[in-house]
Every structure is written in structure tokens, then in C-alpha cells.
């Protein structure tokens, strides 16, 4: 592991944040957690290379809305979306908007890491 790669984990559920945070740290990522999309947008800058891990369903701004807001700002970070309940139409829409992957909760370690690696590879 040469350069420390950053994963921004944005989820309103504290337990999920802690669990996934622990898992991703164990995989060697630098994990920065935010409890809302607004908190993420309030960050002064985000580091590269990085990948966003976004819960779709959150109170306030949803993951999909954050994705769109970032696109409107002209930034296109790789985004992996997470959801407890994904219907095919939402998934298709998110993919067409440029998401790296849409994963269902609870998510398996290998699936998660593969998606994040794919996202990080898009930084280049």
C-alpha cells in the first residue's frame, strides 16, 4: 500500500458508519465519515485519489441528490451507492448518472472492496 487512498463514507446511521468505517480501515483505506451529504459539501476540499461511499436513503439530501449536486459543481468523483432497498429503476438511473456501482445493504466485504477499487481506478 503505497499512497493512502481515501474513502468518504456518508451515511446517516451511526452504527453503519462505525461498522463500515472499521471494515474499510481494516482494508487499508483512509476513511473520512460524514453523517449527512450537507456535511460532506461543507468540507473545504476533498482529497484525491478518493472514492465516495454514499447511502441513497437519508433524511434531507439523498445520495442521488448529492451526486447530482457534485456534477453541477463540475466535480465528478467516483461514487459507490449503498441502499437497503434498491429497485431496478433507481439503480439504472444512478448508473446512467455515472455511479460506479449501486450495492444493497448489507454488503459483502469483497463486493464492497471491488467496487471501491473500481471507483479509485477512475481517478486516473
Amino acid at each position: 500500500m503505497t499512497a493512502l487512498r481515501t474513502v468518504y463514507l456518508i451515511d446517516d446511521d451511526a452504527s453503519v458508519r462505525r461498522g463500515l468505517g472499521r471494515l474499510l480501515k481494516s482494508a487499508g483505506y483512509d476513511v473520512i465519515t460524514c453523517d449527512t451529504p450537507e456535511a460532506f459539501l461543507a468540507l473545504e476540499s476533498y482529497r484525491k485519489p478518493s472514492c465516495l461511499l454514499l447511502d441513497i436513503r437519508m433524511p434531507g439530501m439523498t445520495g442521488l441528490e448529492l451526486q447530482r449536486a457534485l456534477h453541477e459543481e463540475g466535480s465528478h468523483p467516483p461514487i459507490v451507492l449503498l441502499s437497503g432497498h434498491v429497485d431496478a429503476a433507481t439503480k439504472e438511473w444512478a448508473m446512467s448518472e455515472g455511479a460506479v456501482a449501486v450495492l444493497s445493504k448489507p454488503v459483502d466485504y469483497d463486493t464492497l472492496v471491488n467496487a471501491i477499487e473500481l471507483g479509485l481506478s477512475r481517478n486516473r
Partner: protein, 719 residues
């Protein structure tokens, strides 16, 4: 006389005319004042006029021919020359012919005197025009043959004939018609008595007025010519007996006046007898004419009142029919009572509302009403035996057959059916719903019936009302159907939402558990396991497990009713209430729900709403099970009674295909379903409710259907 005389009437015309002509001529001849040729009262011309007004023009020759021999016989006898007799017959006939022709031209019904127009036509044509014109010819004949003074003859003949036309023709025609109705015993006793009193009064007054001075002078202060005393009787005649009465009063007074004049009595003593009589005739004719017109006006009024009453009766019928569809919830009952009312109103033995065109769900039924004493036609099949009529109705045509002759030659089957059902009348009025013919109102009778234009208009209105009611009914059923669909969609949507919420609520803790467990796995597998991190992860896992369990508890609290309201109930009532709740479902899905009750009381204790829910779920399942069966076979039998061992029992039997073999044990498990729709919770919920009431629910299935048996403990009867 009707336009179509029966043969025996035809044979009667000649002898009757001859007999009346003879009697009239005898009277006339008796009232001749020799040496004058012209009678002062000559009824034969008016008798001929009456005959010509009563028969068709095609038969006029018969009347004239019947009068000829009588005329010749009598006048030759009276000592007139053959030439004079022949010429007088021509002038007499010309008067009758002129009268009949002008009245026919002016009046809509020449032999009737019940309206102002008809009376006016008669007075103008027969009362004035014909006597005046024909008298020119008559006076010329008498002047040339007998060398009498032309204008003296003309004057006597005009007044004599004006009076006789006015007095004889209507009295004769109406008397003839009245005698016929008397023979048919349609006259009421009271009117007969009044008529007799009237006749006596007329004669008595006439004798008093025109009779011997001895009688008249017995009353002190009476003027010598109290002709005016006749006025009240004429008025009475106009009010109560119409034109016929006035005419008869006129005839009676004129006859008495003529007789008394011949006997030497005359009211105008200063005048010669003939002039005195002419003066009397003039007064009588002038008094009679306005009174006859008054009688005609009264006839108009009576007719208008009768029309109004008939219209009101029809309005009542129409509003009654329209109202019954609004007030009666049962469409079929409303239809049936409407058919009955129409049958009564139009005097029809059969009234039917039949369906035409494309099938339209359960509206596709025929309604028929057969009056008392006629053979029922047993539903709509009978009307299908009039294929030609039905085809025309389907085209929007109204079919009216008054006789078998009216049926076209090509409609052989219709003709045979008409004959077979002994119909004498058939009317079919199609009605449309939107652009297509949906059905028809059918009337049939086994007796003769003529349908007037106004009848037809009324029937069309009724057909319209029935069509509107039908359209409303269809809209109602459509609305019911779509309500049902909306409810289904809403139920499915809320279920989908619940499932989605549940997934989110449960997947959050599961995601946490998964992540923490995998993190722990990885930490423990690494070279330097950080025990503190693993511990924290495990604590989070325990918390998430609690969280998931809380979610499930919350859902259970939400779905299960918090408090059961136990109360004394009759299980049979629960079944009836459920049947009522399901009535529109069973109607739409064309399932017959047959309720059977064992007769014993079935008192239990339980929560009414919950038990309804349980029974409803079981019956809905039974209804669903028969979706693939033929409509007539979709029967659900619900038996309610006692099981005999202090349990009340409901047994629900369907006639579906049964369950797949081996699945009987699973049906009460949640989420088990043989249907493509539904959650498979129905029987599971039913079982939990029944068991919470201390009862049991069992299911048996074979290829002929499923039987679900519910047993519930009978409640102790409160002391």
C-alpha cells in the same frame, strides 16, 4: 257508424233508411196545409242527411235508392203527379247531398257533435246552406208544375227544412248511437231516468206553450205566446244532453207546434196559420243554434278536461317509474313494478324490457310482466321468436303491428309466433344507450288494441326513462367495479410501502452487523489483532441486533390490534354481516353466496370486528378459488350452526379445483399462497384470530373444492 261497417250493418242500411223515411214522410204529409204542396215540417230530407252523414260516401247511393220507392209510393198516394214526385225526390236528395258534402268538408267527424267546430260545421252546412240552396230548386219545381207563388213556396220550405235539419239530423244520429250503447248496456240508470224526465218536460212545456188557450190562460198574467218558457229546457238540454238534447227538444217543440197549428191553435193569432208557424219555426231555430254551439263548446271543455286528466295520469305514471328507480335500491324490483304499471296503464297483457345487441354483463337479463289471467311468456326467449321485428328494433326502428295483416310477408317466423301466442297487437320500441341500441320496450296484447300517436309518444317517453335508469345502473356498476379495483391497488400499494419501509429499517442494523462482523473477522485474521477494535465492533453488533429486534416488535404492535373487545355475540350475525360486506364483491364476480343456518342459537363471546375479519378472509379465499369456474358453478356455501359439543360452527365450502395435493398443512402459514396476487396472510390471520378466541380452524381439500371449518366455544348463557 264506423268506417268499416260489419256485413250485417250493411244489410241494415236500406231497410232502416226506408223505414225512417216512411215515418218522416207520413209526418210531413200530415202537416201540409192544402192547397200548398210544401209541408210546414218535412223530416225526410233531414233523415236522409243523417243517413248520409253516418255512412261512407261509397254507400250513399244505397240510402238514396232505399228512399226512392217509399217516396214514390207515399206521394203518388197523396195525389201528386208522377212528374212532380220525381222532381221533388231530386230536390230532396240534393238537399241531403249538399248537407252531407258541406259538413264532410268542414268537420273532422261529420257524425259527431261534441265540439264547437263539429257543431258549427253542421249548422253551417246542413242547418243553413243545404236547405236554403235546395229550396231554390224546390220552389222552382212547385212553381212550374203547380203554379204556386215562387217566393211563398221558397219561404215555407226554407224555414221548415232549417228546423227539421237542426232538430232531426243530430237527434237521429245521436239517438241511434245512444241506442247502440244502451243495447251494449253501457248507459247508467241515472242518465236514462234523466232522459225520460227531460222528454216529458219538453212535451209538457210545448203543449203548454203551443196548446189550447184553455190550458194556457189558466195561469194568470201569462202572456199569450210564452215561447220564452221553452228556453230553460233548451238550456238544460245543452248542458246535460249536448247537441242531441237541444235537437230533440227542438224536434219535440216543433212537432207539437205544427200539430197544434194544424188543429187550429196558433200562438200568433193575428197571423194566418202558415205564417204563424213560420214565425214559431224561426224563433225556435234562432234559439236552438246558439244553444247547439254552446253544447259544442261544453264538449270542447269536457274533452280538454279529459285530455288534461289523461296527461296527468301519464305524468304520474312516468314520475312513478322514474321515482322507483331512485328510491328502490333493488334495480330488478324497480324494473318489475315499472313493467306492471305500464301494463296497467296501456292495457297490455304482456310488457317486457328485453336486451338487444351485445352482451353487457349482468344487465343482460330480460324483464317481463304478464297481466293476470294471461299465459306468462316465461322470460325473454319468447321475444326472440320474432326475429324480423327484433332485427328492425336493433336498427332503431319502432315496430307496431295492430293485426296479423300488418306483419310483412317476408317475416314468416314472426307471423307464426304472433299467431301462436294469440297476439292481436305487438309494439316494440327500441332504446339506445350511447350510440347503440341496447334493448327494447315490448307491449303485446291478446285483444284488439289501437295505438294512437299520442300513445306512441308516451311509450317512447317511458322507454327513454327505462333506458336512462339502465344507463344509470350501468354507470353505478362500473363505478363499483372501479372502486373495487382502486381499493385493490391501494391495498397493494400500501403493502409495497410497508415492505419497503421494513426493508430499510431492518437492513440498516443488518448492514452494521455485517460490516462489524467482517471487520472483526479481518482484524482477528491479521498479524496484530487489535482487541479493543474487535470488542467495539462486537458491542455494535449486539446493539444492532437489539435494534433489529425492536423494529420487528414495532411492526407486530402496529399490525396486531392492541386490545381485543370481547362481547356476547351470535355467530350467525357475524356471518350475515360479512355476507353483507361482500355483497357487491359477489355480484361483480358473479358468485352466489349461499347462507345456510342450522337453526340452533350460536351464542359466543368474541371481538365482532376480529371475527368478521377471520370469516371474511375465509370466504374471500373461497370466492378467489372459483375464479376459473363457470359462472353458474361459482357457489360458496356458508353453513352456520352448532357442532353438537358446545361449539358453534361455521363451515365454508367452495366449488373450486381444491388445493395442490400436500399443501393442506401449509395453508395456515403466513406468506403461503396459491394465488399470483396477495400476500398469503389471509388464512394465517384467520387462524390467529380464531385461536385467540379459543377456537379451531381446519381445512379439507379435494378435487371438488375446499371446506374450511371454524369451531368456536359457545358462551355460557348469562343468568
Amino acid at each position: 257508424m264506423s268506417e268499416r261497417p260489419a256485413p250485417f250493418r250493411l244489410a241494415l242500411i236500406a231497410p232502416v233508411v226506408a223505414a225512417f223515411y216512411y215515418a218522416g214522410a207520413q209526418i210531413g204529409l200530415a202537416l201540409t196545409f192544402p192547397p200548398a204542396t210544401t209541408s210546414v215540417l218535412w223530416p225526410p230530407n233531414a233523415i236522409l242527411t243523417a243517413a248520409l252523414l253516418m255512412v261512407r260516401p261509397r254507400l250513399w247511393w244505397l240510402c238514396l235508392a232505399a228512399a226512392l220507392p217509399v217516396h214514390i209510393l207515399l206521394e203518388i198516394d197523396a195525389g201528386f203527379s208522377a212528374r212532380l214526385v220525381g222532381l221533388l225526390f231530386v230536390t230532396n236528395c240534393s238537399e241531403a247531398l249538399l248537407a252531407a258534402l258541406t259538413v264532410r268538408a268542414l268537420s273532422d267527424a261529420p257524425a259527431q257533435f261534441d265540439s264547437f267546430r263539429r257543431v258549427a260545421a253542421f249548422i253551417a252546412g246542413a242547418g243553413l246552406f243545404a236547405p236554403i240552396v235546395s229550396s231554390f230548386g224546390d220552389a222552382a219545381v212547385v212553381h212550374l208544375v203547380r203554379a204556386e207563388n215562387y217566393w211563398d213556396v221558397w219561404r215555407v220550405r226554407v224555414f221548415a227544412n232549417v228546423l227539421t235539419e237542426l232538430s232531426v239530423a243530430p237527434a237521429l244520429i245521436l239517438g241511434w248511437q245512444g241506442a247502440q250503447s244502451l243495447i251494449a248496456s253501457r248507459a247508467r240508470l241515472r242518465s236514462v231516468i234523466e232522459s225520460l224526465v227531460f222528454v216529458v218536460a219538453v212535451l209538457a212545456l210545448a203543449i203548454f206553450v203551443f196548446g189550447r188557450p184553455g190550458v194556457r190562460d189558466a195561469m194568470p198574467g201569462t202572456p199569450p205566446t210564452p215561447i220564452v218558457l221553452l228556453l230553460p229546457v233548451f238550456g238544460w238540454a245543452a248542458m246535460r244532453f249536448g247537441v242531441g238534447g237541444v235537437s230533440a227538444a227542438l224536434l219535440g217543440s216543433a212537432a207539437v207546434a205544427s200539430y197544434e197549428t194544424a188543429e187550429g191553435q196558433r200562438p200568433f193569432a193575428t197571423l194566418p196559420p202558415v205564417d204563424s208557424l213560420i214565425a214559431v219555426q224561426m224563433i225556435l231555430a234562432v234559439v236552438a243554434m246558439p244553444l247547439m254551439l254552446l253544447a259544442g263548446l261544453l264538449g270542447d271543455r269536457r274533452q280538454a278536461a279529459a285530455n288534461l286528466a289523461a296527461r296527468l295520469r301519464f305524468e304520474e305514471l312516468l314520475s312513478g317509474i322514474a321515482g322507483s328507480f331512485l328510491s328502490l335500491t333493488d334495480h330488478a324490483v324497480a324494473l318489475r313494478t315499472s313493467m306492471m304499471r305500464v301494463s296497467e296503464f296501456f292495457d297490455a297483457d304482456h310488457v317486457a324490457l328485453i336486451q338487444l345487441g351485445d352482451a353487457d354483463g349482468e344487465l343482460e337479463s330480460d324483464n317481463e310482466w304478464s297481466g293476470p289471467g294471461v299465459m306468462s311468456l316465461k322470460g325473454g326467449a319468447a321475444w326472440r321468436r320474432f326475429p324480423s321485428a327484433m332485427a328492425r328494433a336493433l336498427n332503431g326502428e319502432t315496430v307496431v303491428w295492430n293485426t296479423a295483416d300488418a306483419i310483412p310477408n317476408t317475416a314468416t317466423q314472426d307471423f307464426l309466433s304472433f299467431d301462436e301466442f294469440r297476439f292481436r297487437f305487438l309494439a316494440i320500441l327500441p332504446f339506445v344507450d350511447g350510440p347503440t341500441v341496447r334493448g327494447a320496450l315490448v307491449l303485446a296484447t291478446t285483444h284488439d288494441r289501437l295505438l294512437s300517436d299520442s300513445d306512441l309518444v308516451q311509450l317512447r317517453l317511458i322507454a327513454d326513462v327505462l333506458a336512462t335508469a339502465r344507463a344509470r345502473r350501468r354507470a353505478e356498476l362500473d363505478a363499483q367495479r372501479s372502486r373495487h379495483e382502486v381499493a385493490q391497488i391501494a391495498r397493494r400499494a400500501s403493502m409495497g410501502e410497508l415492505a419497503s419501509a421494513l426493508a430499510h429499517q431492518l437492513n440498516q442494523p443488518l448492514a452494521g452487523i455485517m460490516a462489524n462482523a467482517q471487520a472483526a473477522q479481518r482484524l482477528l485474521g491479521s498479524a496484530t489483532p487489535a482487541a479493543a477494535d474487535v470488542h467495539e465492533g462486537l458491542v455494535d453488533i449486539v446493539d444492532d441486533c437489539r435494534r433489529a429486534s425492536d423494529v420487528i416488535q414495532r411492526v407486530r404492535d402496529m399490525v396486531a390490534p392492541s386490545k381485543v373487545q370481547m362481547a356476547p355475540l351470535d355467530l350467525a350475525d357475524v356471518v350475515r354481516e360479512v355476507a353483507m360486506l361482500l355483497s357487491s364483491d359477489t355480484l361483480i364476480r358473479r358468485v352466489r353466496l349461499s347462507l345456510e343456518f342450522g337453526g340452533e342459537a350460536t351464542p359466543i363471546r368474541g371481538d365482532r370486528v376480529l371475527l368478521q375479519q377471520a370469516v371474511l378472509n375465509v370466504i374471500v379465499n373461497a370466492i378467489d378459488a372459483m375464479a376459473d369456474q363457470r359462472v353458474g358453478d361459482r357457489v360458496v356455501t356458508v353453513w352456520t350452526g352448532s357442532s353438537g359439543n358446545s361449539h358453534a360452527r361455521i363451515r365454508v365450502r367452495d366449488h373450486g379445483a381444491g388445493l395442490p395435493p400436500g399443501s393442506e398443512a401449509q395453508v395456515f402459514e403466513p406468506f403461503f399462497s396459491t394465488k399470483t396476487t396477495g400476500l398469503g396472510m389471509g388464512l394465517a390471520i384467520a387462524r390467529s384470530i380464531i385461536e385467540s378466541h379459543g377456537g379451531t380452524i381446519e381445512l379439507d381439500s379435494d378435487a371438488t373444492g375446499v371446506v374450511v371449518t371454524i369451531n368456536l366455544p359457545v358462551a355460557e348463557i348469562a343468568a
